[in-house]
Symmetry: C3
Subunit: 330 residues, 3 copies
């Protein structure tokens, strides 16, 4: 087998993925939308760029990119129809095929978090059941846009009624935990048989994270604009790492052979240091983009420059060297 | 021509500039105020330090520093009289001479941003015209001190009346956008003929960014204390980079031969990801000081340690090697 | 004398300390609680790990670890009885023995800060004396848990009465400064005879730093969850460095031979850039954990990867080379 190229689509964490691939000695390929190629080209990390009008054209490019391994990221799952991806796409994709199915279903996601023994916020089926502050998140809502909060059932019902089509829209009504959010990222390596603690960020959202939000906003909004880097209180990092390992164990049982590669647990820590996991992502998250060329934790572990993009490429290189690529791709 | 020394004045981003110059193999010279030289000396990045009582003494030091290129920064424009700088100073200064004139005039600044096709917040000439929340910024106000907000015309008029001399003081009354602020920095290279995306920060201001601001402050204040590093949502970075390039194009048309070197667009992103540019800086900003020895983006682009200070020095080295120093200094 | 091993206990900044020791060529030893060794082992920075049920078992391990120098950190002072540490423990500890005594007494801490000429917030002996907003901190309170604020005397008395046992609990009632907090870290080197500016962070606390705190919380809480990295306005850094040096001078006079190694001044900066120091830590703080492998400032100074953990190890290596270990340990 020839050494594969590393390919991703131009959005989300493509810079991270391609720089990392290049640092590990891979040839790189980017599929990006017209109008964005000059941005990506300016960084000098793409051996080849294919411009498309819509990311869906990837299905017609399969022959051309057959020598690649695709690294999926957040935008990847947002842009592609799952069925088509699973049935009409033959280029190897890094990760576990079945995780995609589980992740496309918010109820299955909650089931997986519960199976991992994680404490999750209460979820309400009907607005009238709500007995505490909640946050409403739409299924497949991208980047936090349109999320809203309500302090009680009455306010929630009022907000739903004031938004056209909102009552019917698939959504999750989730208890709002009083605490501060943390987004720890991990890498589960099949080749090294371990779950690595990678780094922690928190989101920077518009307009809830405006310095002036309290003066200006009747109702905070949660559109993701970027990410802040963080470091965790060390005793908390120990607990968070344990929960990361529990999560991997749960995926091994429920979604065999289990998740491999990058993942993120989206958590809220209350004043008593209780940890609530309100969401997870089964692949590289944009919060790791700050940690290029390394995070504090990845430097401690590796003693070298190890971004999440590079960690993924390192895993592929390791697997390639021992002819186990088929265990980490689908 | 002999290889020049790199010189700056001790404030703002001097550490950044001199460390970068040293990393590029330049000899360095710092002009600093009495009482601050031990701070700068402790970092071991100054080949020579000249202590002055007031930065204005630089005009008398011209012979002594004639072998240098001066790197201006934020404090530079604050401390010097523009006319004197343009007419009585012969040591080469990095940048475009005419940009200084444009930047000294807030109306010309707005004109330049508009010419670049950037969306800018509405500006009001008279307090009574105000029909939405605004922020008031004084001309030449340094580091955010004294800025204030008002929710409507009535509150604004009241605040102006309660501040002695405020009515006559030159100021800008600017629409306050509901959103979160980002401060992307760029480097426009004349030698490489490209505009590079460098990194993003946001300010840390007193007391609006106090965790307890909402409990303590009747009226938030905006004195800059420092900066947080950020990473941008990648799809937003693509747009921001485009606006950076548009801005450079506008300076080429209106302020030929155009801006060269570091610059920053000061932006606010609303919940719909609309980008408003409320201010710009035509040189290195202090927000880049975090990104030493590199930012995530500069590492992606260069694959080596590239701070903004070093990027400036690299440009000078590049220009020196091809004998084009006169194109990047005045 | 044989080159010592570097030893610490598994919590707070152990990763930082051990990675730094390893980078300086030391053999490392970790004492950690059962259940946490897999976390620490996963980073590959411990040559030996000793598991204990309680950190107090260190007193029985003295023979086994006699070839080590212990690096104390925040958790260290929290877990050990001071008298026992000073009288029943013979393994060398990095730092100044007498600082531990001074630090265990909140009144002596204030005395030291005042002796250094630092401006400190007003402290009130009795709740009824309070004439402005205050924050209440318990003696030995760990990680901010249980701290609370009150806007005036009446609110404070009410809060004390509503908390069982609070009236008798030893606590400090401290003026709450309107401003933003900064936590600058320094390293005072006995061997190089200088106080080095290392880096700046701010804390990330639950739930006061929740984006939604204002909507959810009747009363903010201050449990430390982690830290954000910051960079300071350069003119402010000059002042802060001066105060760091004044602080070292004060420790030389009051706690001879003075503090050596890492320390942190916990400060609040108001809108007029006045600096108030509300607390200090005489050893490595967790905020430095972000700055691995370096902070912006440490890179400027060293031109190499220099974390606080590594800086400590470098000092020990320097002292070992010139046979002055006894001056930096007790």
């Amino acid at each position: 087998m020839k050494k594969p190229r590393i390919c991703t689509i131009g959005s989300h964490s493509a810079l991270n993925i391609l720089r990392g691939a290049m640092d590990e000695g891979f040839s790189t390929l980017l599929i990006c939308r017209k109008g964005t190629s000059s941005f990506y080209a300016s960084f000098g990390i793409c051996n080849e760029i294919i411009e498309v009008n819509h990311f869906n054209e990837i299905f017609n490019l399969q022959e051309q990119i057959a020598d690649s391994i695709i690294i999926p990221h957040g935008s990847f799952v947002a842009y592609y129809d799952l069925d088509r991806l699973l049935n009409e796409f033959d280029v190897p994709i890094f990760g576990n095929k079945n995780m995609l199915t589980w992740e496309s279903d918010r109820y299955k996601k909650s089931e997986l978090m519960r199976a991992a023994g994680l404490r999750i916020p209460k979820e309400f089926e009907k607005p009238e059941d709500v007995d505490r502050p909640v946050i409403v998140k739409h299924f497949g809502a991208h980047g936090g846009k349109g999320f809203y909060i309500a302090m009680d059932s009455e306010e929630l019902i009022e907000k739903i009624e004031s938004r056209p089509g909102e009552a019917e829209r698939p959504k999750i009504i989730q208890e709002l935990i009083r605490g501060t959010n943390i987004y720890p990222s991990f890498f589960h390596s099949v080749i090294r048989n371990r779950t690595e603690f990678f780094g922690v960020d928190r989101r920077y959202e518009s307009d809830v994270d405006s310095s002036l939000n309290v003066y200006l906003s009747e109702d905070p909004t949660f559109t993701i604009v970027g990410n802040y880097p963080l470091v965790l209180r060390e005793s908390l990092a120990v607990k968070v790492q344990k929960e990361g390992e529990q999560f991997i164990d749960a995926t091994k049982r429920l979604v065999p052979p289990g998740l491999n590669g990058a993942f993120c647990l989206e958590m809220c820590v209350d004043k008593n240091l209780n940890i609530f996991t309100f969401e997870f992502s089964g692949r590289i998250v944009a919060g790791t983009n700050f940690f290029i060329p390394h995070s504090p934790y990845s430097y401690i572990m590796w003693g070298e420059q190890m971004s999440m993009g590079r960690r993924i490429a390192r895993e592929i290189r390791d697997a390639f060297d021992v002819e186990r690529i088929d265990e980490i791709c689908f």
